[in-house]
Amino acid sequence: MKPAAFDYHRPAGTAEAVRLLSDLGDDAKVIAGGQSLLPIMNMRLAEPAHLVDVTGIAELRQTTVDASGARYGATTTHMRFEYQLVPDVTGGLLSRMAAGIGYQAIRNRGTVGGSLAHSDPSAEWPTVMAALDAAVHVLSVRGMRRVPVRDLLLGFFSTALEPDELIVDVEVGRLPASTRWGVCKTARKPGEFAESLAVALMEHDATPRIRQPRLWLGAAADTPVRLAGTERLVEGHDVDAVTADDLVVPIAADLGADPGAGDPAARYVLHLHAVTVHRALRAVHEEVSDE
């Protein structure tokens, strides 16, 4: 469980980084916190000939904020979101999600850009960034382009990034004061990857009514899934009138799964997604009524 030999590069700026990526081609891999890549390399599931370490690039650690939202540098660590060492333009949603990632040691090193580039659908950032309709800015020797996260994530460990492209920052729009969020992560124990991960956003109207819900589910498919059919079903209902069991059939439909599956594992997984989404919905409601 030792990695195969590789050459290590530590560029000081993004221009140098993308030049390296361009020159090295498919044989190079960008490394930031290394919390996913290094175990994969140690198990020799990946054997890149070159590692381009972008943690020495100061501009990738910068955050800019304006009235419309924030652009978080790609190597902003989970820990900085967790403790709000960067401004949270989502009313605490980013901080809350970051706190659920792995263990403290992982959060100290792992980065938001790295997580999105890795595209593990069980991880926190892909689901929450998809729910927030965030976008990444991506640099290569050909220039900069903006890619919505919903388009970036193509599948399990698969993204729309070209091999020579580097995520430089993540653009997150400011959540309006009228928008409330609720999240629920179901995992076997704290620090583990999610078995189910739900993000619920909705408009606040001082009643228990579910209004304009936007529901996103992670750890359920190759990429985060928008539960459009489930949104329609719960729209306008009182949150207390919706049970987890009510959500099984619509979520199954959104996932393209069979709600009557006889396999106990499949049955449980679907139920767990329903419970998780239900709890995320209730979390929105509870946040609101706490005020």
């Binding site: 469980m1 030792k2 990695p3 195969a4 030999a5 198990m43 020799r44 179901t186 076997r188 124990k189 704290p190 620090g191 583990e192 990857f193 987890a244 106990p264 594992a265 049955r267 449980y268 139920h271 767990l272 419970v275």
Partner: protein, 796 residues
């Protein structure tokens, strides 16, 4: 967090709450493990391992450009070392020689096939990746039904089936008990396969010193002397030429007390090389190629009278032992222990059992903290609760009613085990108090029916045979019957002590507790006693550290050596002080008489530098003592654990709300260390109960071979434990000590399983399989509700 500490007689002796001496070096990062050993010219080893669970090897191809001596296959090794064959005296036992490197067939994923040697581990892995192995896959035998099927593929071609051995027994009259019973229950229980997962994996260094004609093997092993002797035998050389050193170790829990192919292979290869070689197990290897554990299935029927009296028990026990029998334990170790422990601490007199130890295409099973008992305890204790439920009794009352009473000790169980001492019911009573039974019952009843949570209370009780001698191992069929331990104690010319023992402390603090034994006799601080362990060249022959035996056995030997040396020290002092021996006492670093006193430092200097000052006393200031207990049936620890759980009805998630342990390990040598053992054991037991499972696919592929899938308990899963001690001295051991290393790990699956079932009683769901994952708990709940629903409709 504890109750019942007693006051030690000596400041640093038996019973002293002495902090672990080992901790200073480990906390400062000054320990020296196999990975830390520095040797000139050392090269690193990577193993090529099977990625197929069952298959025929058709070719092993070595790269043409590999340096001479850098690649070794079964063909190379065949001339150098015999395969390891664990034998048993059990009737019908089938041996399964364990190849050092697989030759014709592979029988589990992870089985070693070839050795690659290079300057670094990474380069060795590069070389290993270039060795190609062609394997024609065969159908894999994975679970019990695969293994026992009429036309099952055979793990070992020359066997008629896949059974290592079958044992059975029928004591009393179970059929009469069944006829007499007011209630009988039959249940099936499964305890799934686990990895052992010490913090430090295995590791081996082998070096043949040509000038000294000595093979030195460093190994992270619990049994250095046994490894030494077996390496010599398998290599066909005299053991005098082999030295085994176990340096600092980061745990073992039983996974390092069998002889492994890697140890034999490295030793054999090193004899042919002019440089040392090292292999350090990585975590994947630890999860697939270290011995694994549990994998039990029970069919239990129990019969009880209306008043709760347990009348009889029947048990059909299956243990999946994996592909091979490990030396010396064999694949029958768990089954024979489980059969003996099913009757538990109860006065049942009618017992019928059968065990079958089954071979499958999984890594060989070996000892793991508790050996057989966690499964047996889960099976019988869950059954006790089922009987209590049927009879409308509080489960702890059922236990109180049936447990062996103190006035019946020593008590020979229906399985022939001699329970030596203790008050078993008192542990139950105290556990109920410690956990706050009535308070929790009230809170449980107060949970509204529309809540999506339930509370449950559960108990698990067990006896644990520890430090058993030759007679016990013989009854279980072992080819080597273990039962003695040696210790050598020297006083040096400066009055310091060196205690040498052949056992290996691999995390349990024996450097502290054995020093306390010397302190008990000589009244010195443990800092003045060096404890040497784990080096065959420096220590008396030993059997090793396992079976919760080291404190009793090595402690007994150390006490024997200390008493002999003390006698000599007094005789020397008698001459020097001119006082009769009987008037002399050992106090605070000195021999104290009626008139004078003499410090150990002065005494040793006088005797060793100027023996002519001490006429009439023979030379030597040391004593060697071999301890073999007069009664070899063991000292039985026992305990009752009580657990309170919250069950999330929506997710099936189980959270521990409270946990209490009341245990009796006899005379406590060091309360800090005993509590540490209990906490660590309970943590591992919680892992068994709720988290840990080695999942295998139908093709025999391990599916949870990293910590991504194999979940271990951490601080968030282990509640603060409430611990109470009873202290019934064993009549069979020095000081009345009983072993306690394994105890904590045995009862958590039983207590937690009973608590989860208690929480779900209103729904009719039961927790009969470990780990009790959210999916299993939820599925049991849903299945029970589905089963009840049509009945409800019929009634209405």
């Amino acid at each position: 967090m504890t109750t019942g500490d007693s006051t030690p007689a000596r400041r640093y002796g038996i019973g002293a709450r002495t902090p672990r001496r080992e901790d200073a070096r480990h906390l400062a990062g000054r320990g020296s493990f196999v990975s830390d050993v520095k040797l000139s010219g050392l090269r690193e080893v990577a193993f090529v391992r099977s990625v197929v669970a069952h298959g025929r090897i058709t070719a092993v191809s070595v790269p043409d450009d590999a340096e001479p001596g850098s690649v070794w296959t079964a063909a190379d090794l065949a001339q150098l070392a015999e395969p390891l064959t664990a034998t048993s005296t059990l009737a019908g036992f089938r041996a399964a020689p364990l190849p050092n490197l697989a030759a014709d067939k592979v029988r589990y994923v992870g089985e070693p096939i070839a050795v690659a040697i290079a300057g670094t581990r990474a380069e060795a892995e590069d070389l290993a990746a270039r060795i190609t192995v062609d394997i024609t896959p065969l159908p894999a035998v994975v679970g019990f039904s695969d293994a026992l099927a009429h036309n099952a593929p055979k793990v070992h071609n020359d066997w008629p089936d896949n059974i290592f051995a079958t044992t059975s027994g029928d004591v009393g009259d179970v059929d009469a008990a069944a006829r007499e019973a007011a209630v009988s229950v039959t249940r099936e229980y499964t305890m799934n396969r686990q990895a052992v997962v010490p913090l430090e994996g295995r590791g081996v260094i082998a070096h043949y010193d040509r000038s000294a004609d000595r093979l030195s093997v460093w190994s992270s092993t619990q049994t250095p002397h046994m490894i030494r002797e077996m390496i010599a035998i398998l290599l066909g050389i005299e053991a005098r030429r082999v030295r085994v050193i176990a340096p600092d170790m980061g745990g073992a829990f039983g996974s390092k007390c069998s002889l492994y192919p890697e140890e034999v292979a490295l030793a054999a290869i090193a004899m042919k090389l002019d440089h040392p070689i090292r292999w350090v197990e990585d975590r994947w290897e630890g999860m697939v190629a270290s011995t694994q554990a549990r994998d039990h299935h029970y069919l239990v029927t129990a019969h009880a009278a209306a008043d709760g009296t347990l009348l009889g028990v029947e048990a059909d026990i299956l243990v999946n032992g994996g592909a091979y029998s490990v030396y010396p334990w064999t694949a029958t170790m768990d089954a024979t222990m489980a059969a003996a422990m099913i009757p538990g601490p109860y006065r049942v007199r009618n017992y019928r059992f059968r065990t079958r130890s089954v071979a499958a295409n999984k890594a060989p099973s070996g000892p793991y903290r508790g050996v057989g008992r966690p499964g047996a305890c889960f099976a019988i204790e869950r059954t006790i609760d089922e009987l209590a439920h049927e009879l409308g009794l509080e489960p702890y009352e059922m236990r109180l009613k049936n447990m062996v009473r103190p006035d019946e000790m020593p008590y020979t169980s229906v399985a022939g085990k001699v329970y030596d001492s203790g008050d078993y019911p008192e542990a139950v009573r105290q556990a109920a108090v410690l956990i706050g039974h009535d308070t929790w019952r009230k809170r449980q009843r107060g949970v509204p029916t529309d809540s999506r949570h339930r509370i449950g209370i559960g108990y698990g009780s067990c006896t644990e045979q520890t430090a058993h001698g030759c007679v016990e191992w013989a009854t279980r069929g072992l080819a080597i019957t273990i039962g003695t331990e040696g210790a050598r104690l020297e006083m040096d010319a400066t009055g310091g002590f060196t205690l040498s023992v052949g056992i290996k402390s691999h995390g349990q603090g024996s450097e502290t507790t054995l020093a306390q034994v010397v302190s008990e006799v000589f009244d010195v601080e443990p800092e003045h006693v060096t404890v040497i362990h784990g080096d065959t060249a420096l220590t008396p022959r030993s059997e090793g550290t396992f079976a919760s035996r080291s404190m009793v056995m090595a402690g007994g030997a150390s006490y024997g050596a200390a008493r002999q040396l003390a006698q000599k020290v007094k005789r020397i002092a008698s001459v020097l002080l001119d006082e009769p021996v009987e008037d002399l006492r050992l106090r605070d670093h000195a021999v104290v008489g009626r008139a004078g006193s003499l410090g150990y430092r002065e005494l040793a200097k006088e005797f060793l530098f100027t023996p002519d000052h001490v006429p009439g006393i023979e030379g030597g200031l040391e004593a060697t003592y071999y301890y073999r207990p007069a009664v070899e049936t063991g000292a039985f620890s026992y305990a009752t654990h009580a657990a309170v759980v919250d069950v999330d009805l929506d997710t099936g998630g189980v959270t521990l709300l409270d946990y209490a342990v009341v245990e009796d390990c006899g005379t406590v040598v060091n309360p800090l260390i005993v509590e540490g053992q209990i906490v660590g054991g309970v943590a591992q037991g919680i892992g068994s109960a709720l988290l840990e499972e080695l999942v295998y696919g139908d093709d025999g592929q391990p599916k949870s071979s990293s910590f991504l899938d194999y979940l271990l308990p951490g601080t968030t899963e282990i509640p603060e434990l409430k611990i109470g001690h009873l202290r019934t001295a064993s009549p069979n051991t020095v000081f009345g000590m009983k072993g306690t290393g394994e105890s904590g790990a045995i009862m958590p699956p039983a207590a937690i399983g009973n608590a989860v079932t208690d929480a779900l009683r209103e729904f009719g769901a039961q927790a009969n399989e470990t780990p009790m994952t959210p999916q299993r708990v939820w599925t049991a709940l849903r299945d029970a509700q589905d089963a009840m629903a049509p009945i409800a409709e019929t009634v209405s």
